[in-house]
Symmetry: D2
Subunit: 400 residues, 4 copies
């Protein structure tokens, strides 16, 4: 197959050239005397991406799943009651992990295509006068359905109930792409991974922790130390404080991380968020022009990092994903679990721009036609490009 | 600017990943004992790309312009009469070089947008009973106007006139992308460069030479040795015959060349040509859907490697190129010389596929709209993608 | 600082060029339809490196420490009795992890510079008639002291005692560099990581598991599921069986792993081991020529992957490591824990050859002199190179 | 073969990692609106490496041989008398080129192992009252014999004779490595290439030209335009003045050039020269310790970029080069032409440091022994490393 393969899954995302260059390196000694100078800058700047102003961010050689586990095992004990909502494959997996790690999970199941039910959470918290609930979990962006939840709303519910539970956020497919404000929103443990908004290959799990959660983790009366070691806060803190790691870190990815954080800070986080919002809106216009629906039920749930498109009755979305790959060298995301066969997903996060999205939409359009979905050729990509050009910042504004 | 820059100039072209990987190398000694094993395979296989069955191909550290100069200075003398046609910036530059190198150039100027006038050539050759014409030059693909000429037709004209002149072909933007048959068509000197169909960075000039031309070059009574050294055949032959080079070769590009020739041979040259034809036709359908015209006057001149699109009166094509770059990170080709301001060019050669071309057309469409050309959003890219999917080889056929 | 930095720590090790090229890649979708073809080959071939003939190898996005944890948490329960020896920083850390994960560790402390006390182990196993000991842990190569232990001897002790305990081996700095035979030696869980003999950047933890251990892990009556998720066998088995992973794998490193396994298999494991033995012996000759001692007490403990050199009284080995780095851009390993300040380490594993080791020894020699150790200039490197050339396989033998 | 290949030929030289990273790039359009910003900085900074304060430097996609040809064909006519000395393969090749390009070459042959005979040159210039000599050629560093000539001395001779001849310098293996001062020494045309002191892959030829020579080139009454086109100054000037090139430049190498010039300027040219002098002296001490002689006859001729070592009677230096490559993966330089079989060469220029040179000397030492030269193991490398550590700048001085 000739030409570049096109990657539009909602992670791993495309790696920017400067990041790729930074990772094209000979091996280095992560105990070299100069290494702490490098790591300290990294620890400082990754906090900026999470907008974590007082705590610290752990960088694990792991996937985001590992960071989930670290969040739980360092701050909660088996038997602890936690409040979670389930509305997609990734919120489901987090519930599953919490249960397997022995937590007493109060799961609120809501329709896939919606997100965290803030009112229900508010109600449960208000009623929990004894503060049995130790933690509230929010999947900020459900990658499986393209749904974004209201983290600030959950914080408001906690505050309204004067509830001391810790707030956990899965930001794997949101941090660095859509608005996230750890300190302002009072998020205690925010999880992310290298392969989404951070535009790196997979292999790093990030866990950004508030001072409050760090204090909880230190409280040996409160949590069980017998179930962690690799993901332990105390080991990581002790080593990080000297600029090193408790075991060999993924040094190549750390060099890439430096380059990717530089890109994010240089573009400016707010500009990054605006870019994602604009690219996402173009995709949504294409979906509308195709006369298809998103899995997300209402505009308030629309995700600016991934759109899950519902295929018509009689069409298997798995066939769409396979056809896009085989006929057009384009990787789209499939439907997972409950929505398997029913949706396909277009990732629009990370190192993307208008022309790349037009390519993705063109591939999707050819594929839909190949698979028997009657869409008008050019309708979707035309709607998107028309939006992109109209919504472009005028050059004069850029210069200002 | 975020996201990948899009490259759709008619050279340099996109570099395939395996080629890029092959060039990501530590430096090596081009006099190592094992080097000839590498170079001999390369010399053998590059001939296959030119379909040169009996001669040899020189690989110069130079651009294609250097290979032009080598072709002239090794086989012709100042004062020699040569027949050339001029119908675009690159055929113009070759004429200019021939004149500056002292040849007596019989230039046939034809309208830009047409190509080599085979009938006129046939006439001149037929009338040249004394064989004063030593060489006939053909620009197979005029990159400035998107016009492909009929090399086989010129050969037929030579044969019909029983004329012994050597046949020179500028194949810079054609070899490895559209049909070229050195031995079958009796081409004596075929010039190309690394940065077009060979999908490499610029830096190598190729000159594929027939046995007849090699004999002419050896004939010291016939050509002046005082005007060349760097581009000399004899030095190159002597060194190449031992597997080495007369001066330091561009070793990194040679490793890339190995990888790019492997890709071409693996896909199969005829499949490569068919891919180019199909991608080009999609672009032409887009141009038609925009209600614009190609610079190429008739279908017989249409190039499958580059399309030059004429902009409407009152529009400056230079603005289109600049706008595509600034607003959409997309490099298109501008108009050169006589057609400056009047055409913009879309390269569709090398490591390209359907989705990449849809991206290019989307960028062009947004840009046309930004520059005041009234095209219907989605019309061009829609026409192209509809063609691409209809003309796709069915998967079943591929498997067979 | 000019020139290449020299890396001679006992991991991370130098990355071969073909591995580096393989990792110079655009991002890819690890759920692509073609991905299982790639992963299945990898799963099959990594078993060959461990010489695991009937079980399977898990590849975690983690360091080797993560694979340690996976080994323990999938096959043992808090409270289970295990037999371990401690004689260096890495065997110490494994003991520490086992204790923190709640195991009842029977630690045999032996002198640093020696290794697993096979006789003591044999004695304990023979006396454990009730089979309270569930597992025996062996650090095959103690990276901190340059000591290799006798895994086959421990297996023999288990067999002699007809003891059913599982055998765990830390092969982080041995597998792929020195002889290791999982199935033949009856090793149940062998841990390794990407950044040593596998010659990759850090970021992958390997856990090669025997069928017996897989059965134990499946036995839900036997082990506690509440303390793992990320490192769970069952999740990994279920996903791997389809060619995928339970969470996003480190795709870039997996491509590198493919290339590194290819290198190991192409050289032949036995040749790889012989190369390591020969390079190590040269280093030991240099140490002898310097009139210094190894930390390893006797030849039977000598490691072929790393040599820990004891510095004379009054010399701080940390100063040696820092001086080598600052003055000669050379990374050597320092002394850890009990031997901090007392030894420096030269790694001689992975992608190394004679000339590289001579460079390392030259750097060490300059550094020793700079730090006040009286060694004769050229003595160590001279002894090594003399050995290297004498012990070289004659070219004729190679050709045969 | 395992481990890194060692490259110690006097070019191509080792490519620094940052240069390699810079060349790991997708293709780019060399006509992009932003390109001139990049090229202008490059044109300005490359002058600094030549210490050309008023003229300009041309960057050709060619080897240094091409820059030789450009120097001659733009400023001299066939028949012009030039003064040259011959004392090695590269000075020989330049003479050969001058003759083949039709110059009337007054060749002074001196013993190989010596350099430009300044006194003889002074004498010829003084006697040339009619100024028939149009140009004086100096090979600053004869790469074949490891001899550096006195450029400033030749300038003094020209000045003493008040002779207007242009001064041409072959600085291929000297510029960027040893002292060169174009403007101060009144050098008119200085040739270099990318693959030596510039630490790049081969593929760029540099020609740094004084204002005086630029004026000569413009004087159409003085030089014949019919023998050049590719290497023409006027085309290059016209295009470079707009930030572009007359034909496709080697864009990947230009990005590498930016990185390599940055490295040179960051280290500081004088520091670079001092580093080369020091590394070279270590190699010479090794040669002395081996009881071997350099090809260079006297210290005043010693080159700081390459040492040609004379092998004892009865030893074939070609065998040494082959043995080093086959047995130790080390590329050394062989003897060329008159000194074929008699010398082998160690390159010590570009991206090199002490440890790398100790590796090279170790490889040479093993090879000499393998080939029957009786040297004491460790003697050469020991002498070198002793010198390196003694001559090291104290860290405190560096900090100052």
């Amino acid at each position: 197959m000739a030409g570049f393969t096109q990657l539009f899954v909602p992670g791993p995302t495309n790696v920017p050239e400067t990041v790729r260059q930074a990772m094209n390196m000979p091996m280095e000694d992560m105990r070299a005397p100069t290494y702490p100078t490098f790591t300290r800058g990294l620890f400082e700047d990754i906090n900026k991406i999470f907008r974590n102003e007082s705590g610290r961010t752990f960088i694990f050689p792991s996937s985001g799943t590992g960071a989930w586990e670290s969040a739980i095992t360092n701050t909660l004990n088996p038997g602890d009651r936690v409040l979670m909502a389930r509305f997609g494959q990734f919120s489901h997996l987090w519930v599953d992990m919490a249960e397997r790690l022995g937590l007493d999970v109060d799961v609120v199941d809501v329709e896939w295509g919606t997100g965290v039910p803030v009112e229900i959470f508010a109600d449960r918290l208000a009623k929990d006068k004894e503060h049995r609930i130790k933690a509230v979990f929010v999947t900020q962006n459900e990658t499986a359905t393209g749904v974004t939840s209201d983290v600030a709303g959950v914080r408001a519910a906690l505050d309204a109930a004067k509830h001391p539970a810790l707030l956990y956020v899965d930001g794997v497919s949101s941090v660095g792409s859509i608005d996230f404000r750890q300190t302002e929103w009072g998020v205690d443990l925010a999880v992310s991974g290298s392969q989404k908004g951070f535009m790196l290959p997979p292999g790093l799990g990030f866990l950004s922790v508030s001072q409050k959660a760090l204090d909880v983790a230190k409280d040996t009366t409160r949590n069980n130390r017998s179930n962690r070691c690799y993901f332990s806060f105390e080991d990581m803190i002790k080593a990080n404080d000297t600029g090193f790691f408790p075991y060999t870190p993924a040094v190549q990815l750390l060099r890439g991380l430096r380059a990717s954080i530089d890109l994010l800070l240089e573009e400016g986080l707010d500009n990054v968020f605006q870019r994602h919002a604009r690219l996402a809106e173009g995709v949504r216009r294409a979906v509308a022009a195709w006369d298809l629906k998103l899995c997300a039920k209402e505009p308030k749930w629309y995700s600016d990092t991934v759109s899950a498109v519902v295929v018509p009755e009689g069409i298997d979305s798995a066939n769409i994903v396979r056809t896009a790959f085989e006929n057009y060298q384009t990787s789209l995301g499939g439907g997972l679990s409950k929505v398997a066969g029913k949706v396909f997903r277009i990732g629009h996060l990370g190192w993307v721009n208008e022309v790349m999205m037009c390519g993705a939409l063109s591939a999707a359009e050819m594929t839909l036609l190949d698979c028997g979905v009657k869409v008008k050729p050019g309708s979707g990509v035309g709607a998107a490009l028309e939006y992109y050009r109209e919504s472009r910042q005028p050059a004069i504004a850029k210069a200002a």
